[in-house]
């Protein structure tokens, strides 16, 4: 099963390699990994998408918790949550297909953020499957390049990921 795992980790040199190293050393799969600072500048938040059966996901969470720099780990699947991913996609937009690309982008609530004589660059936000659906919908229209952020997740409701006291 696909899981989105959120990690709060001390914002220190090498933090990313500890997490990435754990996954490669133990043979866990990483579909995407996103790292950025948080409101608290001493912490980074990682959002990691992985796949595995229940036992593997449990081990992943335990092994992440075992890393000394990891402050908190949360499996988004444990509670209702929102998943979003950003995609920047550059599509060939020539005379014959220009209108079609524009229309599809509108249907999928994408924004055209760059225009050239032969291309549109579209920004689109949504859960991963929506972005996949847009790419499929383009059909035969050639894609020049795709840049995706990897999934981000946040729990629904008023509560955030809290940091335990020292």
């Amino acid at each position: 099963m696909r899981h989105i795992i959120s990690i709060l980790i001390e914002n220190e040199a090498g933090a990313l390699s500890r997490v990435a190293g754990l996954f490669s050393a133990r043979g866990y799969n990483i579909e995407s990994l996103c790292v950025a600072p948080t409101v608290d500048e001493t912490l980074s938040r990682m959002t990691l998408v992985t796949r595995g059966d229940e036992q593997i996901i449990e081990q992943i969470i335990k092994q992440l918790n075992k890393l000394i720099d990891v402050v908190k780990v949360q499996d988004m699947a444990d509670a209702p949550h929102i998943e979003r991913e950003l995609m920047l996609i550059k599509v060939q937009a020539l005379e014959g297909s220009r209108n079609e690309v524009y229309r599809l982008a509108e249907i999928f609530r994408g924004q055209i953020i760059d225009v050239s004589e032969s291309s549109y660059t579209i920004q689109m936000v949504g859960p991963g499957h929506k972005l996949d659906a847009f790419v499929t919908a383009l059909g035969a229209i050639p894609v020049v390049e795709i840049v995706r952020s990897g999934a981000l997740g946040v729990a629904r409701g008023p509560r955030g990921m809290t940091v335990p006291d020292a």
Partner: protein, 566 residues
Amino acid sequence: MELSGGQILVECLKAEGVDAVFGYPGGAVLHIYDALFQQEQVKHILVRHEQGAVHMADGYARATGKPGVVLVTSGPGATNAITGIATAHMDSIPLVVITGQVPTSLIGNDAFQEVDSVGITRPCVKHNFLVKDVRDIAATMKKAFYIATTGRPGPVVVDIPKDVTDPRVIVPFEYPASVSLRSYHPTVKGHSGQIRKAIDLIVNAERPMIYSGGGVIIGRAAEQLTRFARLLNYPITNTLMGLGAYPASDRQFLGMLGMHGTYEANMGMHHCDVLIAIGARFDDRVTGNLAKFCPTAKIVHIDIDPASISKNVVVDVPIVGSVKSVLEEMLPLIEDAGGAKQPEALAAWWAQIAQWRDMRCLDFKTNGEVIKPQYVVQKVWEITHGDAYVTSDVGQHQMWAAQYYGFDKPNRWINSGGLGTMGFGLPAALGVKFAYPEEEVVCVTGEGSIQMCIQELSTALQYHLPIKVVSLNNRYLGMVRQWQEFFYSGRYAMSYMEALPDFVKLAESYGHVGMRIEKASDVEAALREAFAMRDRLVFMDFQTDPTENVYPMVPAGAGLNEMILV
């Protein structure tokens, strides 16, 4: 107090009560060595190879329970230490390893003797640090000792660039009184609901089995474990790492389990209805084929490391906590429950175990004057009254030492169980002897393993560490040869040790006593003579039977009930 980085480091060691550092100097740590040289309290043991330094600190830590401390230089100093660090990591041994690093201004420039020590050690440490500012040394050292020794212990590397210990840079020093990390809270106390659930399962067991491991030794819980087993009158087996946690001479003890475990221990595991796993991690050498492991058992698992629980074998009642604390909590609850509740079933179970014991799986055939390695270990046990500190290397001799030297006390059996590091035994023995100069320390080894760290015989002379080396020399890499005999139709690829040195002369050239023993009838007298030389290191080269194999054996992929007996 205003001090330089080197002085601060030494003060940190003093504050932690460190009495010895095992190390080897080099360019990046010269400032630290200069500070060490100008004081008396923290002694330094100069090894002959950095791997030896880490194994010595490791042996010291395993025997005393205190963290071992290592000091090596950057680059090759650090890489030579890796095998030792990984060895300690696999067996959860607390170490603080200080590695020198090139000056901060040169990091990343491929400078002379530069290696990314933090990067290269990351997969085999509990944690590591790079100290970039002299003002961070004290707090980092405090954290390093705290992390190394708490929770599930392990090695911590502290990498210190040369400029950070510059004697010209003086800063105020104060050692932190306490440490707390928001990201690190090891669980000590077990969940009381889980403990109650476990007790219910434990006291109602009909065919119980206690399976305990290295966590009981490291967690200093041998006494609690012994009370627990005796209170219930349940059979108990120890893993290779757990030997000595329960007295081997006790009637409830079934011996070691696993690949070279006893028939009664492995059959007991296979047929039990409640398995009580205590400070053990269901290693593949213990479980055999996971699909065939304990098919009829409900499993209780007590471990300080949540990640050890349900990693290899899914358990029914997990309890996260220190073995000592959880057992302390369980003992009165078992008493309140009136102890074990199935006396008839238990009696039948003990009768079944007696039948398995009657197989006498550790008996071995003697053959005139050919020296049987098992016999040598038995005689060592006799002559040392079963009370020596015994270290070993890795291979057949390790298994024979584990099988035939019955340990009645914890911390006496010191070997590389997880990583299986040849070369561990000699330096580890020296570390133990340094800690306990009055105790008998024996390194049981083979002619293959001993050559992997033999240079430390020189360290033994310099620091007067008169251990006894019992080398079971069968002229083969015996365990390799055994597998080649069983599984490769006797094609002994590269397992014969040609061109061996004369170990007697070798020992003598290092300033020690060497003995070569070739006949079974000479074994006992030779051992008595060697052990009578209290203040000399004696290297005993026993010419043992090259065809002898370690039995019983659970072949890889088999279940614990599918053993080769002879």
